[in-house]
Symmetry: C2
Subunit: 361 residues, 2 copies
């Protein structure tokens, strides 16, 4: 039997609760397919700070290094909000993880499930039939990690500065991912930049153009980021794959996710070269509902499915999980966040939702 | 009688048509109030390129320098899209104008007019009663204008780079504008940054906090830009004044504008220290409908009203124009872009809309 090792980092807030359901799903996959997942739990985020003194403890890094993939819950909460930014759960865990493991490619699907169009803030005629956008975000370069960066001077001269930088090689690498992904989907890439203002974007556009020549079957367009922020609101269906730098991808992927109206449903993958990756829900740690057993576990379960697909090449199992989620939604199962009070809807808690999905597997 | 000089830069596309209506409104203001507006026409954008060889001709700069304010139409169109970014109508006219005239403060209202809630992509229950956001965007600093900036190297090492930079003095200046504006509105400022990643934002937040102490009557909150892009979609009514750096303001103001559903209605002001300012519609030059006399002149007319308010201190006249627009909309007058086919609606062309507004003045 195949065997994979998974570093399990539940984190804070609803993280542990929804992670429990994802692990139950992995159990079910073990039973159905000839595979085993060796899991090692580790602290991260606020749990890292409280138990081991920092958001990304060294032991956690070691455990991740010994694993084939990281399944990540969510981090953060009011308790740690007054720490300096560098030490806070989100920033203090996520940025180092991305850097240490070379997670240059962030895949953030923004999908409206047909059963859930009601949850979107957008009018029905704008989203009729749903939409399905994949944001491909560069994750280890750009203004997040380039230097110089700092604060200097005193008084009114005190100055903060950051550097945005991309090499052709970095742009090339992420562009290939976007075009490969588009081939398996709607065959369209829209590259988001600000080439009318940023030199980084001028290079970005030039490289994207060049790489696109290798994919004559995929349609390429370019859009300025300010226009993209508008077009997402106006007509999200026009997009298939959106290719973004680190900073623009941060903003655009969150906007697109919120337009679906179901943040609790959206997984994400952060991939290194090779098969290593980190998988996490797009939503946050939702401290307000933590510990009540009512959080929506679907984003975490779909993140586990992405892990099977991208790190373990278990495409059939990943497809089966996605299909099970769809059936369960069509059958009316709803956690509180997606409950609309319709006739066909059954309100369930976190573990009931997990069980319903497993029953469909 | 008071007398003011106005540089009139109609630009491209629908610019000249909607500008004609704004000038008619200025005529009406001259008649009603004891004032005269001395206007000088000048080329800008594609019209500048075609007639004088560049997007911002020197004669245009001179005319603007001799004026008390600039009334700007809109620039750009397919004809000039293949020029290098620096020379294109938008970038080649707007960025130098901002720099030359020190237009550090960009005010971009995003308002849903009660009569037009139907035009928004957002569901009725999200926008019931409308919303009224003022984006205050820093316009002469940040990653737009800081150096170094360029492209270096060859092959896969070829690297594009930009610098984001803010001094405490720059942040202070724009923060005061935001708080002063909030005082006259909903008394709330939400400052948008990415302090968990950018040093610039750490300084930004520190300065905003300090300045806010001078405005104990105004409530301050901070929000990361990715979250702001989401919150705008989820619940726009939570915002009053949004204070943004140059880059984030570019994205956030466009998203907010599109959420209103009526881009053709939104004016903007770009202010220097003192009373000089440039006033322009938020929408583009709409080349697809140019020359047909059907464009919506309201954004241009409301831009003229902002000019009266901010550069000429003619508050009563500005209020009167705003009120006239509101009455005309309530009376059902609609250009094609905002026509929904309702019983009470009368479809009108550009000049009929201008006339209707003047009749109310
Ligand atoms: C926590 C923060 C540093 C992070 C980012 O900006 O990348 C988060 O917003 C995300 O998108 O994963
Ligand atoms: C044309 C472009 C340089 C400009 C900007 O980015 O500021 C425009 O998008 C705007 O917002 O006025």
């Amino acid at each position: 039997a195949n065997s994979f090792t998974v570093a399990v980092l539940p984190g804070d807030g609803i993280g542990p609760e929804v992670m429990a359901e994802a692990l139950k799903v992995l159990d079910a996959v073990e039973k159905k397919y000839d595979v085993s997942f060796k899991r090692t739990l580790a602290n991260v985020g606020g749990a890292g700070i409280d138990n081991e003194g920092k958001a990304l403890p060294d032991t956690t890094v070691d455990i991740c290094k010994q694993s084939d993939a990281i399944l990540f819950g969510s981090v953060g909460g009011p308790k740690w909000e007054t720490l300096p930014p560098d030490e806070q759960p989100e920033r203090g865990a996520l940025l180092p993880l991305r850097k240490i493991f070379g997670l240059f490619c962030n895949l953030r699907p923004a999908i409206i499930f047909p059963a859930l169009t009601g949850a979107s803030s957008l009018k029905d005629d704008v989203i009729k039939g749903g939409f399905d956008i994949l944001v491909v975000r560069e994750l280890t370069g750009g203004i997040y990690f380039s230097t110089p960066k700092g604060i200097e001077g005193e008084g009114s001269e005190k100055t903060g500065f950051d550097t945005m930088k991309y090499s052709a090689a970095e742009v090339e690498r992420i562009t290939h991912v976007a075009f490969e992904a588009a081939r398996k989907r709607g065959s369209k890439v829209c590259s988001i930049d600000k080439a009318n203002v940023l030199s980084t974007s001028v290079l970005w556009r030039e490289v994207v153009e060049r790489v696109s020549k290798e994919y004559p079957d995929v349609e390429l367009s370019h859009m300025y980021v300010d226009n993209a922020a508008m077009q997402l609101v106006r007509w999200p269906k026009q997009f298939d794959v959106m290719l973004c730098s680190n900073m623009f991808g941060d903003i655009i992927s969150d906007e697109a996710a919120m337009l679906t109206g179901s943040l609790g449903m959206l997984p994400s993958a952060s991939l290194a070269e090779g098969s290593f990756g980190m998988y996490e829900p797009s939503g946050g740690s939702a401290p307000d509902i933590a510990g009540q057993g009512i959080a929506n576990p679907i984003a975490q379960i779909l993140s586990a499915a992405m892990m099977l697909r991208y790190s373990f090449n278990m495409v059939a199992a990943a497809d089966a999980i996605n299909a099970a989620v769809e059936v369960v939604l069509n059958n009316g199962y709803r956690t509180g966040d997606i409950y609309q009070g319709g006739d066909n809807e059954k309100k369930v808690n976190t573990s009931e939702m997990g069980d319903a999905i497993i029953a469909q597997l």
